[in-house]
């Protein structure tokens, strides 16, 4: 992997736009195609690309597995927590209308909150899955293929 300088430069150039695009997809899902799930996958792709080019160990310095696992659970908690909050505010589980006086605003906030949860969870899980497969046992030698 050490000598692919073209690959390194190109991916260094690619990763920021991918992350930017992921953020765009995350927050723009109300208006165009996309949303938390797609954004999470794109975000994970940026990390996976980084790991493929610079080695998985340097990727794990940025995002240790333990952190990824916590984020995976945190996404679920953000989503379900939104439901609990609306429940405490007197509406049904995930009844966003309790979040603001104006139902349209309330819905928008609720949707943003849960989509954020989806994005966090999906990105973390996809990265964790990649790490789990990539770091399992040493890969087979070329002859074994």
């Amino acid at each position: 992997m050490e000598h692919h300088s073209v690959l390194r430069v190109v991916s260094k150039l690619l990763i920021p736009p991918i992350i930017l695009y992921a953020l765009y997809v995350q927050w723009h899902g109300d208006y165009g195609p996309g949303g938390g799930f797609q954004a999470g996958v794109l975000f994970a792709v940026a990390f996976i690309l980084y790991a493929l080019v610079f080695g998985i160990d340097s990727m794990m310095k940025v995002l240790p597995p333990r952190t990824a696992h916590i984020f995976a659970g945190a996404g679920v908690l953000i989503y379900a927590g939104t439901g609990i909050v609306t429940m405490l505010l007197g509406d049904a589980f995930l009844g966003y209308n309790a979040l603001a006086h104006d139902p349209v605003h309330a819905q928008e906030w609720g949707i943003l909150a849960v989509e954020f949860g989806v994005g966090v969870s999906v990105a973390a899980v996809m990265i964790a899955l990649f790490v789990a497969f990539a770091r399992h046992n040493p890969p087979l030698k070329d002859e074994d293929w």
Binding site: P33, V104, A128, L129
Partner: protein, 190 residues
């Protein structure tokens, strides 16, 4: 109406032909590396088909998941398991029979299905119309798919996130959570 229908039909049939060729190639090839690549191609083609059917969100997701994540996972698996499939020894008669019977049952079911693309199908009438009418008033979200996904059927989506989480827990339970390469002799294992 009929002209646009035939236009769609031509694109559909083209994409479909490619899909069938890909699927048959996947069934026949024994080089698993090629199979995985073709599975990615299959996903991209189906994403294109889904986009022609107005499902842009689904096409986006299918491309990202089918051609992206699952290809990465499949390649990661091949690196650990080998890339050549052995020639199957048992006869393909019974599987073929199962598939033909299932296929025949499905074709039988399609005979009474409402016509493809008609605006007055039951599927277009009841809930679909209500979602399209109520979304701008109640949520102010232009993408109706997002409105249904995150609000009207938000609980399904919570379940979906939980499915993703379950997959992570399951894979970590099987392959190890530490991120460290497991030491040679794990306890209790044969």
């Amino acid at each position: 109406m009929t002209a646009s229908l035939i236009g769609i039909a031509v694109i559909d049939i083209l994409l479909f032909t490619f899909l069938v060729i890909t699927a048959i190639a996947i069934a026949r090839l024994r080089n698993l590396f090629a199979v995985v690549m073709l599975a990615g191609v299959f996903s991209l083609l189906s994403a294109a088909l889904l986009a022609t059917l107005d499902a842009v969100d689904v096409a986006f997701t299918e491309a990202a998941v089918g051609a992206g994540i699952s290809t990465v996972l499949l390649l990661g698996t091949l690196a650990l398991t080998g890339r050549e499939e052995k020639k199957p020894r048992h006869s393909p008669f019974l599987p073929l029979l199962v598939c033909l019977v299932t296929g025949a049952a499905l074709i039988y079911g399609t005979l009474d299905m409402p016509s493809f693309g008609a605006a007055n199908n039951p599927a277009q009438e009841h809930l679909a119309r209500e979602y399209l009418e109520r979304t701008p008033v109640e949520t102010g979200v232009p993408n109706v798919v997002t409105a249904i996904l995150a609000s009207y059927r938000g609980f399904d989506t919570l379940g979906e996130v939980l499915v993703v989480f379950t997959a992570a827990i399951a894979v970590l339970l099987l392959l190890g959570a530490s991120g460290k390469r497991p030491s040679a002799g794990r306890r209790g294992e044969e």
